[in-house]
């Protein structure tokens, strides 16, 4: 019995509850006669789709700034990168590549996102070094502000292609941009296969795992260890001759850059670019995911990302159709999502002092 309580404690009660809830949702789906294969395919797709955005939390938590609520900064950088590639396609930049150049385009978009988001990330990291101790509050509001700032940018970008701009006004970006002609689903379809109604987004999944592997590799490198030491114990790091502020900027930058890459993977799977206020609350979902996976605000590992994303987004993927099936109320799953994501964040913050296992 004692051993069991200890095991429960180690694993975390909220995680057990969430898993139980997730499983009961699956059972409910099966009982109500839903297409389980398609549902599970959806779970896997959403897992891979949100994965890199959630992965962005790891370097930020490890370098000591806590969960990066300001991942929105990376997201808007990624959106800008995607818009630039759409404009490039408009001018025929990708025409010479195979299959309409969609794969090339998305790779360029990722590259651009890495560059743009890194620049934003460095600035953001410098800002966070000035507000030590209240990073979470500040990053939340910086995330909100950058969305507002980019709202202005979206209206003013001098792009001309018909996909991005408002058709009637002739200028300013649309709120939702269809990626059908660009890189929608290129990763999802790469090496994709089907078992019955179960679709495997192989390319996207591989990309997600690859990103996880690189971040893991980084944590095992000299720089990575220096960074997590700076996050775990700044005094220790200082005594070891490590520039703590530099390490924090590094972690913030990597996190923000991952946010940029993450949104492109997300958008290609979703099929649309969502501008304006759409990214505003995305940071919260990412934070909630990694916390559900077992991370704390001072400690996070790759396994927390894998588990957390699967639980959080998998649950939402299942909850929507099940809830609609049982209770034909339109907004139920959205309400559920908000309750769960905010509830998890609240729980995690209240446990802020305890280190994760």
């Amino acid at each position: 019995m004692e051993r069991m309580t200890k095991a429960v404690k180690n694993f975390g009660l909220p995680r057990i509850i969430i898993i139980a809830f997730f499983l009961s949702l699956l059972v409910a789906a099966a009982v109500t006669g839903m297409d389980m294969a398609a549902l599970l395919g959806d779970v896997v797709r959403r897992w891979a789709m949100y994965g890199i955005l959630v992965l962005a939390m790891v370097p930020s938590i490890q370098c000591g700034i806590g969960p990066n609520f300001g991942v929105t900064i990376g997201i808007v950088g990624g959106l800008l990168a995607a818009l630039i590639t759409i404009e490039m396609r408009f001018y025929g930049f990708f025409d010479s590549f195979a299959n309409g150049g969609a794969m090339m385009q998305v790779c360029i978009a990722i590259l651009l996102a890495l560059i743009l988001s890194s620049i934003l990330g460095i600035l953001y990291g410098m800002l966070l070094n000035r507000v030590k101790g209240s990073e979470m509050t500040v990053s939340t509001y910086v995330g909100f502000s950058i969305v507002a700032l980019f709202n202005i940018l979206w209206l003013m970008l001098p792009f001309k292609n018909g996909t991005s701009i408002w058709p009637l006004a002739g200028e300013g970006m649309r709120t939702t941009i269809n990626l059908e002609a660009d890189f929608a689903s290129v990763f999802n379809n790469l090496l994709a296969f089907k078992i019955g109604n179960f679709e495997m987004p192989t390319g996207l999944l591989l990309l997600f795992f690859l990103a996880c592997f690189f971040v893991w590799l980084f944590t095992k490198s000299r720089t990575g260890m220096m960074m997590s030491a700076a996050g775990a114990n700044p005094n220790f790091a200082k005594a070891a001759g490590i520039n703590v502020n530099k390490m924090r900027i590094l972690g913030t930058t990597i996190s923000t850059a991952l946010g940029g890459v993450g949104i492109i993977c997300y958008a290609q799977s979703f099929g649309f670019l969502q501008l304006y206020n759409a990214p505003q609350m995305m940071g919260f979902a990412c934070v909630a995911s990694v916390l559900i996976g077992g991370a704390s605000i001072s400690k996070a590992r790759i396994v927390h990302v894998l588990l957390g994303t699967l639980l959080f987004h998998g649950m939402l993927a299942v909850a929507l159709p099940v809830a609609n099936n049982i209770l034909p109320e339109g907004n139920l799953s959205e309400i559920l999502r908000i309750i769960i994501s905010n509830g998890i964040i609240l729980y995690a913050l209240s446990k802020a002092k305890e280190a994760g296992k």
Partner: protein, 531 residues
């Protein structure tokens, strides 16, 4: 006729777990008497005062044995409030004042005089109006009685340190029933002239019939003001004497005492004077809060174990922290002839200095990391060892790390389940061994160990000290050991510098008489020095 005492403490004993911190301590203080309580850090002075004030830490750890008798009545205080109600006051070393309040408000806080108002007649006492006139008059009276002519309306924030001390005293003597006042190292933060003023105030307070317990390290002050004194050492009363019957050297000797435990056996004195200087320090200053170092000059020779001792707060810990760059430092430091650049983070490490910090949990270790990662961390970051190059990145070579960690675990006898155990779950002694292993992994030319045996058991202590001696004698490592425990310094060091007031008060041989160590610690200068 039996004398009346303001306070008698009889046969007081206290254990923290298995550790006896007070053994059968008795003392008695007469009204109007200044009673000095003397002892090194850890001698039990604070515990004794905690018992007197009924601090909850005492009750939480199982209470104490013995009696506290105030004015002939046995008292059992459950909280400091009870003690205050019984007429015991304390002047703290760190001031307990509210900066934004005026002097009057600080003196009267919690004991405000009030006038009834209409609202208070209906809704109760909490709505009464403050009687500012009376409070100001009281504050004035209290300030006058200690000879302080500052305006009582001034805010405390920004007052010179010395004045704050006087405000604290004024607050205590403003309490009507005050019988006993405890001064806990009141002069530690004061300048010499401020300290003089304070001592004369203490005398005038005592003249009013208030008993004073005076805790201090400065023996000359004891000689100046105290009537009687008790020396505590390791929780025991070593001596209680009238001040007229004693002198500074005697008190100093009593305070230090002869430690019988010899931690490391050495048959001969190994110290061979090497001409090569390992560490040259000139006009060295460190801004470390609470451990400020002012103007230190030192030459430490290659191959010696150099001890740095002294009481807490005197600056001995500031020296390693300044060298390692943890706090702003100025002056000149040369390591084997290479000048140390304070502006460059980690420069000392790059120049072959390794340091075991006195704050092992806060600075020395990554508590959430494994033993092996802690051991190789500095070697990996500073010397780029234990890495495998992958072209674009340097990965930690887990195999090499494991092998080295296992070797260290064996040499230093680190008790653990394996190299992957979390350091945070180890005992203090084993954590300290991990710190030492981490420093040794750097393969340093100069090793600084700060408080290496603080809070660890005797077995681990002996092993660590023996290992240090072995490193020095057989591997030619130069070692600087900073420690509060004089016995330990004297058992392994070749020379010992005693730091007082941020300066080297003298450099002594380990077998120098106790009295010289005692005098050096209380900053009374002695002429004899060994080079």
């Amino acid at each position: 006729m039996e004398e009346t005492y303001a306070l008698r403490m009889e046969h007081v004993s206290k254990n923290y777990g298995d550790n006896a911190v007070l053994k059968d301590v008795s003392l008695s203080v007469k009204p109007g008497e200044i009673y000095a309580l003397i002892g090194e850090n850890g001698a039990g002075k604070s515990t004794l005062m905690n018992i007197l004030f009924g601090m909850s830490v005492i009750r939480d750890t199982g209470g104490f044995d013995g009696k506290v008798i105030i004015d002939g009545v046995e008292a059992r205080f459950n909280s400091p409030n009870d003690a205050m109600a019984a007429g015991i006051g304390m002047v703290h070393q760190e001031f307990m004042l509210i900066p934004g309040f005026t002097i009057t408000e600080n003196i009267k806080v919690g004991r405000e005089d009030t006038i009834p108002t209409l609202a208070s007649r209906i809704f109760g006492k909490s709505l009464e109006k403050l009687d500012n006139k009376k409070m100001n008059a009281d504050a004035r009276k209290a300030l006058d009685s200690i000879g302080m002519d500052i305006d009582q309306h001034v805010r405390v924030a920004g007052l010179p340190v010395g004045y704050m001390q006087f405000v604290e005293i004024a607050r205590e003597i403003d309490k009507e029933n005050i019988k006993l006042l405890v001064f806990d190292e009141p002069t530690a933060v004061l300048t010499e002239s401020e300290a003089k003023g304070l001592l004369s105030v203490m005398r005038s307070i005592a003249k009013r019939g208030i008993a004073i317990i005076f805790i201090t390290h400065r023996l000359s002050e004891v000689m100046d003001v105290a009537d009687r004194m008790t020396v505590l050492r390791d929780g025991e009363v070593v001596a209680s004497k009238n001040i007229i019957d004693t002198d500074i050297p005697e008190i100093a000797e009593l305070m230090v005492g002869r430690r019988i435990e010899k931690l490391v056996d050495e048959n001969e004195t190994h110290y061979t004077h090497s001409d090569e200087i390992a560490l040259k320090i000139r006009d060295f200053q460190v801004d470390m809060p609470g451990e400020t170092v002012n103007h230190i000059d030192l030459d430490i020779h290659k191959g010696e174990i150099f001890g740095i001792g002294g009481l807490a707060g005197q600056g001995k810990v500031g020296i390693p922290n300044g060298i390692m760059g943890m706090f702003p430092a100025y002056g000149e430091v040369e390591i084997f002839g290479e000048k140390l650049q304070f502006s460059k983070l980690g420069d000392a490490l790059h120049k072959g200095v390794a340091c075991v910090s006195e704050d092992r949990r806060g600075v020395g270790l990554l508590l959430d990391e494994s033993i092996e990662n802690n051991i190789i961390f500095n070697a990996m970051t500073i010397k780029r060892e234990y890495l495998t190059g992958l072209g674009f990145a340097h990965l930690v070579n887990a195999k090499k790390v494991r092998a080295f960690a296992k070797e260290m675990i064996k040499t230093l006898d680190i008790r653990c389940t394996g190299p992957q155990q979390r350091v945070g779950s180890l005992s203090g002694g084993n954590q300290q061994k991990v710190c030492l292993a981490s420093a040794l992994a750097l393969n340093p030319r100069l090793l600084i160990v700060s408080e290496p045996t603080r809070g660890i058991d005797i077995g681990a202590k002996k092993l660590i000290l023996e290992h240090l001696v072995d490193l020095c004698r057989n591997h030619g490592l130069t070692i600087i050991m900073v420690s509060s425990e004089l016995g330990e310094l004297r058992s392994i060091c070749d020379r010992i510098a005693i730091v007082a007031g941020g300066e080297i008060s003298s450099i002594l041989a380990p077998d120098a008489p106790d009295v010289e160590f005692g005098l050096a610690m209380s900053a009374a200068r002695v002429s004899q020095e060994v080079s």
